[in-house]
């Protein structure tokens, strides 16, 4: 399935939003794995490892299940307004 991920902070170098292929019924953890290639290309794999994923209303745990077509956000460590 395809999960859309909005980019924030340093991930903006990848664009405003990317589409990531994740296995059917995959979790946030799987989404993180699927993003590794993108991150490596931009030298962001260390940042990916410490980033969180969120829906439009909450930060998600690693076990949260992704749905096809869902729009999530990647949240690198925040720098405090």
């Amino acid at each position: 399935m395809i999960v859309k991920v909005q980019m924030f902070g340093a991930f903006r170098v990848l664009g405003d939003q990317i589409e990531v292929k994740v296995r059917e019924g995959g979790s946030v953890s799987d989404l993180r794995d699927s993003m590794l290639q993108y991150a490596q290309n931009a030298d962001l794999s260390d940042l990916l490892a410490v980033s969180k994923f969120a829906s439009q209303s909450s930060v998600l745990g690693e076990d949260a299940i992704c749905s096809s077509g869902e729009v999530l956000a990647i949240l690198p460590p925040v720098s405090g307004g």
């Binding site: 439009q56 690198p76 720098s79």
Partner: protein, 149 residues
Amino acid sequence: MNTHVEVREFDSNPLDAAEALSFVDAAGNGAGSLFVGVVRNLNQGRKVRAVSYDVFAPLAEQGFAEICSEAQQKWGDDLRLYVAHAKGRLQVGDISIVLAAGSPHRAEAFAACRYLIEEIKTRSPIWKQEHYMDGDSDWVKGHALCGHD
């Protein structure tokens, strides 16, 4: 509603301290505490020309509202609270955040305003990219956000 929370595109509408004070004013309120955050010309020894604020607006606004509600639980339901954070590219001297708390008494107004800024700084999905005088740009290092559970 006695709270106002907002992420605002700086280009279209700069933040405004007077607007914040006017929102938290009420006939029973004798005290207003306001905080304004402004882009500095220096950070950790580097000369700064501008700062771009990236904000995940829906989650940020929801977080602002939660923090306001916590402050009202601590210092009174009658607190009037205003939170606005800028999004976009700001020059040195531009306002990045305006907070205000209005209360019948000053202790509560100060405490609530201070609580808002400290919590917003640590809990909000906001990222700063500094643009330096030497032409370089850097995303400021931060700390991982926590979920609520």
